[in-house]
């Protein structure tokens, strides 16, 4: 079951850019591509937790601002020779509003809490 949370309109995010949503366990980065696709990923690079929302978005990928790992926005997978994966969240666009799936955020809280333990 999804729990869709209305977070913003599409125009709140610049094309080829990102902004964040704050959660109790750190930020989720919401990306908008040049062709208006929207993706949500943890705002922490699998390498050394660089803030992906501050990277350069190109195609369906983002380059981390700290050491230039390239992360695929659809899968959260690091590209090329690098390995690692960022958690992704489901997004729905309705009438230009961006909806984020809250269920997964809860899962994540639990999951991250486990991971941190």
């Amino acid at each position: 079951m999804n729990n869709w949370i209305d977070i913003a309109t599409l125009d709140d995010i610049p094309p080829r850019g990102a902004r964040v949503v704050k959660t109790r366990l750190g930020c989720v980065a919401i990306f908008r591509t040049a062709d208006d696709k929207v993706f949500a990923l943890d705002d922490a690079c699998p390498h050394k937790k660089g803030p992906l929302s501050e990277g350069i978005t190109h195609g369906n990928a983002v380059t981390c601002p700290l050491h230039n790992w390239v992360i695929d926005l659809e899968t959260g997978m690091a590209q090329g020779a690098d390995t690692g994966r960022v958690k992704t969240y489901e997004i729905r666009i309705e009438n230009d509003r961006i909806l984020l799936d809250g269920t997964r955020l809860v899962d994540r809280s639990l999951h991250c809490a486990d991971g941190a333990a």
């Binding site: 949370i5 977070i7 709140d12 610049p14 803030p51 350069i56 190109h58 809280s109």
Partner: protein, 809 residues
């Protein structure tokens, strides 16, 4: 005693001939070399890139003073031979008489001036030597100046493209129905014309010149249809005429050129000739490849070795950046032909066939397979088996480029200019030449026009296998194979004013670039179109988008500007207050004479900026590819050795330069005396004050490399220092590749080139300063002001939503 050899003309043919001769037998002759130009041998075909600014003269010199000295060649440059006295075997020149045992005439050719009224007016010049290039550049320097090129052949079009690049308004007047009619068919000629027109060059075909008009200097060209074409410069590129006067006067058998036999001997057995001034078997040549063959033969004849010159098949390429064009052989209509067009891509290919053999080839827009085709033409290979896919090139016929190179017979010519075959290159590789530079020295392959560099590298790769990696010289990044320099050129010449336009025109392979090319393109746009282009924050790396340096933990550092390294109690108090208010964990005094507040939370940045702004502090751009710091010492205000007000000058410079974006960061320093406490001699621009004025030097480095600055000029006023500095930085902004520091860029273009523009040429210096100031009307501002505004914080900076409560259920 060795015999006396006198050579007339220090051009491309004689230079090569002397090399061949010295390699065969260095002691055979006492050599005297006469040259009418006041300089030695250079690579004349590279005058076009010199004219466009892509190369400097120093880069195209083929033989320098050391070489002549080392080889015992007596040089008489700047001294034309006026007469040959065959009876007494002497040549006569301004310096007197010189005796010879053997004489070589290599006088080349001269530009043909169409015989119309006014063709001798000042401002009407040919395109033949460095003096012509310099005269053209001088004309191009005047703002809004106009050039008319008479002749739309190879030479005329290279001049047109280069002068257009130099900012002139260019018109090409061509007599025939389409451009380069000797090498191109009408379809390819049209494509070429379209391309040139899209760069802003005006092309008029079937243009019959009637007269050249002007009072004391050229002002316009009048055509037979009575149309007038205003001109500050007229370039005669309507053809060349072999320079045969000496031969005719001496009674040598001369037709269109001085007639030579297969051994390069004239009708006088003691006089030989080669180059564009000769006629062999009814043909006069105008490209270097056959001349180099002549050089080989003539050198052997001189030492009585048997050799014979055979007329080669010659191909043509146009050296205009961004135009790919190749043509060879016969493309008359009487043969069968295969044509391929892709108007979308602007590609056109045409193969002419006779008895299942390729006899002619025209390629426009995509010349990648030209060697593959040319080879089949020269070897007269029967292509009936592959005819169906022939036009699609080597790939379609199932050959991968490296395999194709590996499969090439040793007799395949790789370097057209120097007639170097694959076998020669492979042998040299076997002999220890395992990189391009070594191959150039040993074989001359790729040493002239450089068009075959890629192919030579492929031969290296296919011969050495894994031991050689073809250098990734080309691409800016994976999104495009074009170099930074190519891209800047395309932006300028095609007037591209948005990043998507560049990607479209330059054929980007990705939809919207990547983190490597986008910041570069964004910079090129800002530098080229300061008033029109809107900075694209999404193409900025994080530091330049957030105007602070990101740290490893995602916090930021903030560095306010301290002009010239000077500060005041109230500034220090404001910095201390901000540090306390925003819980700054670390404060560091930087190597750039200012204070760094490290470990600031992203959310606190706008408020902190607002506070610092209120106290009169602005961003120090410690994060930017832009002006960083101007370090100073206290100078004459306090120091007992100070000669000038070094800190005052530093502050002035910083106030002029701050906020400007540059290809990489730029740092300055001003020291009050030669003790140089501000370390000015390792900066991008350094000023050392002395009693009599200021010593300005540039292109130093003290980061990953350490390099002392090179002197630019010694001047007497602050104003001159400022103008020189601004002009240098603007030249750098307009020309360097993104992420090249000034010292790297100067190493590429040469200090001489920089000095010519910034120092020697006052008009250019002032124009550079003007262009810098235009850009600064937009960029000399504090970026923090904008980002500290409440609406910016709310709509662009803050989190989209705060779900800290929701997600906790």
């Amino acid at each position: 005693m060795s015999q006396k050899l006198v050579v007339i003309g220090a051009g491309m043919a004689s230079g090569r001939m002397l090399e061949e001769l010295l390699a065969l037998d260095e002691g055979a002759y006492d050599i005297t070399l006469f040259g009418a130009e006041p300089r030695g041998n250079y690579n004349r075909i590279m005058l076009s890139p010199v004219l466009s600014g892509e190369k400097t003269y120093a880069e195209i010199v083929t033989h320098d003073a050391d070489w002549y000295a080392a080889n015992g060649v007596t040089c008489r440059f700047g001294e034309a031979v006026v007469r040959i006295d065959r009876k007494t075997k002497r040549v006569i020149s301004a310096g007197g008489v010189t005796e010879y045992d053997k004489l070589v005439i290599a006088t080349g050719s001269a530009s043909f001036f169409v015989p119309v009224q006014g063709n001798n007016l000042p401002g009407v010049i040919g395109f033949r030597d460095l003096d012509d290039v310099e005269a053209m550049l001088e004309a191009a320097d005047k703002p809004h100046s106009r050039a008319v090129i008479i002749g739309g052949g190879l030479l005329g079009l290279e001049a047109a493209a280069a002068l257009n690049e130099q900012g002139m308004q260019v018109t090409v007047l061509h007599l025939m129905g389409h451009l380069m009619e000797r090498q191109l068919d009408p379809a390819a000629g049209q494509l070429l014309q379209k391309e040139l027109e899209s760069r802003g060059i005006k092309v008029i075909c079937r243009a019959h010149t009637n007269a050249i008009l002007g009072h004391g200097r050229v002002e316009a060209v009048l055509l037979e249809d009575q149309s007038m074409h205003p001109a500050d410069l007229v370039v005669m590129a309507a053809g060349i005429r072999p320079e045969t006067r000496l031969g005719i006067d001496a009674g040598l058998h001369t037709e269109r050129g001085i007639v030579v036999d297969d051994q390069m001997q004239t009708s006088d057995p003691d006089i030989l000739a080669l180059g564009e001034c000769v006629e062999h078997d009814g043909t006069v040549y105008g490209l270097v490849a056959p001349l180099f063959d002549m050089a080989k033969v003539l050198a052997r004849t001189l030492i009585n070795q048997a050799a014979a010159f055979k007329a080669p098949e010659v191909s043509t390429k146009l050296k205009v950046t961004g135009v790919d064009l190749f043509s060879v052989g016969d493309f008359g209509d009487e043969h069968e032909e295969i044509v391929f067009r892709d108007p979308g891509l602007g590609v056109y290919k045409r193969i002419t066939l006779k008895n299942d053999r390729i006899v002619g080839l025209v390629m426009y827009g995509d010349t990648s397979d030209s060697t593959w085709f040319f080879d089949k033409l020269k070897s007269a290979e029967d292509i009936s088996d592959i005819r169906g896919s022939l036009i699609y090139g080597s790939a379609a016929v199932g050959a991968d480029p490296l395999e194709a190179v590996a499969a090439m017979p040793d007799s395949t010519e790789v370097c057209g200019c120097n007639g170097v075959c694959k076998g020669t290159i492979v042998a040299a590789i076997g002999g220890g030449a395992t990189d391009l530079a070594a191959l150039k020295t040993m074989t001359k392959a790729s040493a002239s026009c450089g068009n075959c560099t890629g192919l030579v590298e492929q031969v290296l790769a296919s011969t050495l296998g894994d031991d050689f990696v073809v250098p990734a010289r080309a691409g800016i990044c994976g999104c495009s194979d074009l170099t930074h320099e190519d891209i800047r050129q395309i932006i300028k010449s095609q007037k591209l004013k948005t990043i998507p336009a560049v990607m479209q025109e330059a054929g980007w392979k990705t939809p919207c670039g990547c983190h490597v090319c986008r910041p570069a393109l964004n910079y090129y746009m800002i530098a080229e179109w300061p008033l029109e282009y809107a900075d694209d924050l999404q193409s900025r790396l994080v530091n330049e988008r957030n105007h602070a340096n990101i740290q490893k933990d995602g916090t930021y550092s903030v560095v306010p500007r301290m002009w010239g390294g000077m500060t005041t109690p109230s500034e220090l108090r404001a910095i201390a207050d901000a540090a306390e208010k925003y819980n700054v964990p670390t404060i560091h005094v930087t190597g750039g004479q200012r204070i760094d507040l490290l470990g600031v939370q992203r959310d606190d940045l706008p408020a902190m900026w607002a506070d610092l702004n209120t106290a009169g502090l602005v961003s120090g751009h410690a994060y930017s590819k832009g002006l960083r710091t101007v370090k100073t010492c206290v100078g004459s205000k306090h120091c007992r050795f100070g000669t000038q007000d070094s800190s005052g000058l530093g502050i002035k410079l910083e106030k002029i330069l701050w906020g400007s974006w540059t290809p990489h960061k730029v740092k300055l320093a001003v020291s009050g005396c030669p003790r140089n406490c501000a370390e000015a001699t390792c900066k991008d621009v350094g000023v050392i004050c002395v009693d009599s004025g200021y010593e300005v030097s540039v292109a130093g480095a003290a980061g990953m490399e350490v390099k002392q600055t090179e002197a630019l000029a010694k001047v007497t006023t602050e104003k001159e220092v400022i103008d020189l500095t601004v002009a240098f930085i603007q030249l750098y902004r307009e020309n360097a590749a993104y992420l090249d520091r000034p010292y790297k860029w100067v190493a590429k273009v040469g200090m001489e080139w920089v000095r010519d523009r910034v120092l020697e040429d006052e008009a250019e210096r002032l124009a550079l300063c003007d262009r810098f100031e235009i850009s600064q009307t937009v960029y000399r501002k504090d970026p923090w002001v904008e980002q500290a505004k409440p609406e910016y914080c709310l709509n662009k900076w803050a989190a989209l939503a705060d779900l800290t409560l929701e997600a906790a259920e």
